[in-house]
Structure formats: C-alpha cells, structure tokens
C-alpha cells in the first residue's frame, strides 16, 4: 500500500528506532549477565537447575533445596526452564548452558531420548550433568538422583489405593506426559503389582494430563464420566493429583471415588482435611534438589566421577554412595495422611 519512496524512508527510521531499542535491551542484557555469573572465579561451581517446566510447585520446592545446598558450598545457583513441559524446549536451555560454560546442570528430563544428544554435547563442552526426578538414558548423563526406587513408589501407591477401595473395583491412572520416563516405569510396575497381588482391581485406563493443571482437571472429569463404576484414581504426579482432588472435592463423587498418588502436603492439605483424599505419598522434593546440587558439586570438583561405589558428602543429609547405573538413591517414599500432614510445610 505504501509507495516505494515512503517505504524506503520508513526503513531508515525503523532502523534507527529499533537500533535504539536494541542497544537499550543489549545493555540490560549485559547488566544481567554481570549480576548472574558474577561469582568471580567460582564460575566452575555455577550450577543450573532445569526443571521439566517452570511454575510447577514440585520443582519450586526441589529447586529451593538445590539453592540451599549451593549456598552452603558457595556456588552460584540459577534456575532456567521452559514454560511448557516439552523436550524440544528443554534442548535450547541445555545448549545455552553449554555455551555459557556452567559447571553443572541439574535436569529433570521431559523425554529420555530427545534431550540426550544435547546433554552429550554439553558434557563434551565440560558441563557435568546430573538428572533428578526423571532420568534420561544412563549414557547421556553423569549421575541420576533417584527419589525412591521405582518399585518402592509403585508399591506404596498400589497399597494405598487397594486399602482405600477395599481391594476390588475399577481404578484409573492420571499421569503426566506419555513420555515421562519415571511415570511410565511406575505405572508399569503398578500394573504388574495389581496383576500379581490384587486380581480384583482393574486398571481401566491411563490418561495424560501433561502436568498441566487445566488438562489434568478436564481429564479427571472425563474419566469420571467415562467410567461410572470407577472406584479410584491414582495420580503419580503432583500437578495431576492436585487437579483431580480439586475436581473431586466439588463433585458428587467426593468421598465415593478414592484418590491417591504423589503430591505435596501444601497442595493437598485442604483436600485431606475435607476428606476428598485419605492418604498420599511423596519423598521430600527439597531433599531431592539438595542432594542433586551436592552431587553436581562433587562431580565438578572431581570428588567423584560417577563410578559405582563412589561416595560423597551431601551436607545435612550426610554421606551417599553411587549405586549401579550411576544412580544415587534418596530414600523411601513417605505417606502423608490427616494425622501427620500438619507437620510438613512444602
């Protein structure tokens, strides 16, 4: 619509305006940079936490634990991450970490394969990679901090639901994304356990809420409609269980359909108190982040290499030993119920 002449003159002015805008943001950028990694010569001990996504209270808690640990051993802590839990968006953060030359990267994988190559490249750039919460293939990382054994997690959830529904009837699983390594491992083990020890319980469907609150909420509604006979829901993810509890608490199914899984006490407190949820399980995510940070520190300083049998100190948690497949185990899951929930704040 513009004449050529106007267009050209427009171009010149655009260049100037935007140039100015740019210099401004460029300056802001450099300022932020100086502040961020201004830890002086300790650049080696700069550790980045890369959760599955930002805005997830579970990771807020675990990363706070990491920050606490890093402060204890005098490194610099940074949290980066995508807003949606997808592997491709994690890749660009891994690449940036490699470019920045951070000492260690603590990551919870959205996909065991997809981010593997990026992690490999980061490692060859000298970044120590620790996975926590959700693992990648063992050969793409230096160490995996396991919150609890998969068997232990599956077991506790199966026990809880079996007890709550009287060991018979339909149950469904509300998981995170279909590719979450840890979720899938647990679900598989749970199904084996049901088949082996609870023949009267039928797992009718596994649905995926993508660790998105709204999706999980709507999926819960859909589950209850689709399976009128449903007795219980297991949601082995903190986002899912909170969303499911919120739906149940205002629905006609409250108290009729049992809900358990993995959740944080602060999120679940209300629903335990109002009777929607009887009991649920979790490890302490703050401890998990805390341990992951110490492990990264041990890798960076060369205290350990990730070999089986290596041991390292993890501040207030004491000493840990590296197990097979370069895995460190945090401990057993903990069951929260109306009795003890008041003792926790995370």
């Amino acid at each position: 619509m513009m004449g050529m002449k106007r267009n050209r003159r427009a171009g010149a002015v655009v260049a100037l305006t935007l140039g100015a805008l740019l210099v401004a943001t460029g300056c802001a950028g450099s300022g932020g940079d100086d502040g961020g990694s201004g830890g002086g010569d300790d650049a080696e001990l700069s550790i980045q936490f890369l959760p599955k996504n930002l805005g997830n209270p579970y990771f807020d808690t675990s990363n706070a634990g990491g920050a606490e640990a890093i402060e204890e051993f005098g490194g610099t802590y940074e949290e980066v991450g995508p807003t949606e839990a997808s592997p491709t968006s994690q890749v660009s953060y891994i690449q940036t970490a490699a470019q920045q030359g951070v000492g260690g990267l603590v990551v919870s994988a959205n996909d065991p394969e997809a981010i593997c190559d990026a992690l490999d490249e980061a490692r060859s750039a000298g970044v120590k990679v620790v996975t926590f919460d959700s693992d990648t293939n063992p050969d793409c990382r230096d160490l995996f901090i396991n919150q609890a054994t998969a068997e232990g997690i599956a077991q506790v959830q199966v026990d809880l639901i079996a007890e709550q529904i009287g060991d018979a009837g339909q149950v469904a699983v509300l998981s995170a994304s279909a590719n979450a390594t840890n979720q899938n491992a647990w679900i598989e083990l749970m199904q084996e356990e049901f088949a082996a020890s609870h023949p009267d319980i039928e797992v009718v469907e596994v649905v995926y809420g993508d660790d998105d609150d709204q999706t999980s909420f709507d999926k819960t509604a859909a589950l209850l409609q689709t399976y009128p006979e449903l007795k219980g829901i297991i949601s082995p993810t903190t986002v899912g269980i909170a969303a499911a509890a919120r739906y149940l608490s205002t629905s006609e199914y409250k108290g009729k359909v049992a809900l358990t899984g993995l959740g944080t006490p602060n999120q679940m407190r209300e629903y335990v108190e109002d009777g929607t949820v009887t009991a649920f399980a979790l490890w302490n995510p703050a401890d998990l982040g805390y341990l992951a940070a110490w492990a990264a520190q041990a890798l960076i300083t060369g205290e350990i290499t990730g070999e089986e049998g290596d041991t390292f100190e993890a501040g207030k948690l004491g000493s840990y030993e590296v197990g097979p497949d370069a895995t460190v185990l945090l401990g057993d899951p903990y069951v929260f119920d109306a009795e003890n929930i008041g003792d926790f704040d995370f």
Partner: protein
Amino acid sequence: MSATLTPVQPGTSGASRIVRRIATARETGIAVALVLVIVAATASNPTFLFSSDGFRDLLLTPSLLLLVAVGQAFVIITRSVDLSVGSVVGLTAYLTGRLFIDIPGIPIIVVFAAGVLLGGLLGAVNGVLVAWAKVPALVITLGTMYIYRGINVAWTGSDRINASDLPRDFRGLGTEHLLGIPILTIIALVVLIAAAWYLRNIRGGRELYAIGSDPDAAHLYGLRVSRRIITAFVVSGALAGLAGVLYAARYGTVSSAAGFGWELQAIGAAVIGGVAISGGVGTVWGAAIGAFLLLTINRALPILGIDDFWQRAVVGVLILGSIVLDRLLAVRQHRRLIAQREVDR
C-alpha cells in the same frame, strides 16, 4: 447467511417469516450438530447428560470459551481478527490471583472490574493500532499476542496461583450453581444475550456489520469506522478479561500458560458458528453454539470410543467444513439472485 435467502413479498405473515428464518438460519445447522453430538454421547453413556456432574460439565466447560468467542465474533464481524485473546486471558487470570494474594480481603466485584478493565485496555491497544495505523489486525494482534504473553510470563515467572490462594467464595463461582445451572454459565449467557441484543438492536452494533460488509461504503456513509473498530477490540479484550477472571475461579490454579492457544479455539468457534472471516455476516449466537460444539465434542470423543487426541483434527474438519459450506451456500445464493434478475427482465 442469517438473512432470509428467498425474497419475501411484503405482506407475508410475520410468523411464517420467523419460522422460515429459523429453519434456514446458519446457526440452526450448528445447533443440530451439537444436539446430535450430545445425543450420541448420551446414548453410549447416559451419565454424559443424566448425572449432575455430567450436566454441569456440559454447561460449564464451554462457558469460558463462549465469552472469548463472543468477543472474537465482534472483531471478526468488522473484518478483523484478534489473535491476542489467549494472552489476555492468561494475563487477567494471573492478575486475579495476584489481587487476591496482595490485597487480602479485596471485594470480589473489584477483582472482576479490574480483570475486565485490564482486558478492555489491552483490547483498546489492539484497536487503536489497527484502526489508526491501518495495518491488518492479523499482524498487530500477532505482535501483541507475543507481547502480552511475554509480559505475562515475565510477571508470573515460575510462580503460580494455587487454589488455596483464592477465597472460597470466589472459587465457588466456578463450581456452584443456581437452579441447576452453573453460575459461570449464567454469567456467560447474560453476556451472550446482551451482546446479541446490542448487535441486533443498537445502531453501533449494526454499524459493525456494515463496516465488515464493505469498509469503503461505511466510510462513504459517514460511519465512525475507527471508533467502531476500536469498540469491537475493546469488547473482545474485555470479554477475554472476564474469561480470565472466571478461569481463575474455575480452575483455581493459574500458571503462565493459562489461556495458551485459546485464540485459535475462539476463532474456530466463531467460524464454525457461521461468522464469516471476511466480515459482515454471522451472529454471536452462532459463535456461542460453535464454542459449545467444540468443547462438547472434545468431551464426547472419549465416550464415543475415539481417542481424544483426535479432537484437534475434528476441530480442523469442522472449521474447514463450515467455511466450505458457507462458500457453497453463498455461490448458490448468488446464482439464484442472478437468475432471478434474468427472469425479472
């Protein structure tokens, strides 16, 4: 096409005209499709409709999208499009949570006003840029979609609003009902009726159609085109803002991803409901029914035994189907009008 298709001689009785109008209205087809979906889903699982939760969710789930789609219809009728509504929903939803957290005891009505105001303001920014810079809305709102979402994420960061941060009364709005109808749905219906009434019976509303039908003619008529376009964007923004507040009430949890992708759902709902992307045609009733159809299909698919991953594909087919249908109807009507002229000679 919502207007009567066949020329009616003056003097035909009003009643028969109304019947014919309803029978031939574009919205009727979509409403029938909606009923069919509900019937099919209910037949395969009665709780889809005949349980208190089923009935509630049937009405509740589409209510938020309905608001956004009504706003979108305003904009599309004037031959524009608003891609920024999803981002506006996200921003106002977070604002809602923040207000409750930062100002304990703030009256709920004030929060509603703030959300609608912020939404209207963001819409006004769109409208002013579109009307005065004379740049297509597609480009402007693509830009502001990025900007609003970016501001939202920067403001929210990794924070999120939890259900426990919100007063119980407020969350009650999202779940409680009056005479069996969820409050959220009642709010949406009130807005819908007001919008429909405005578009049909008020000069400003009719002028929106005129502008969308032929912007140059509107200019020659001396209509205040810029002002009307800005109005349409303000309405779209304000309704997205209202939807944002209600989003917080309904879902309780607000992260920076709230409302992500809603713009396409809203445009899809409007287009399916017969609001022509080329402006001047369609009603908010159509957009509302479109919103209902979209989300009801979403819920019905798993019940009908179709993996709900296919939902988006169904949406695509619906959008394409309705624009192709509209096109065919328009071509047919055009032919008939031309033939009519031939006969008149």
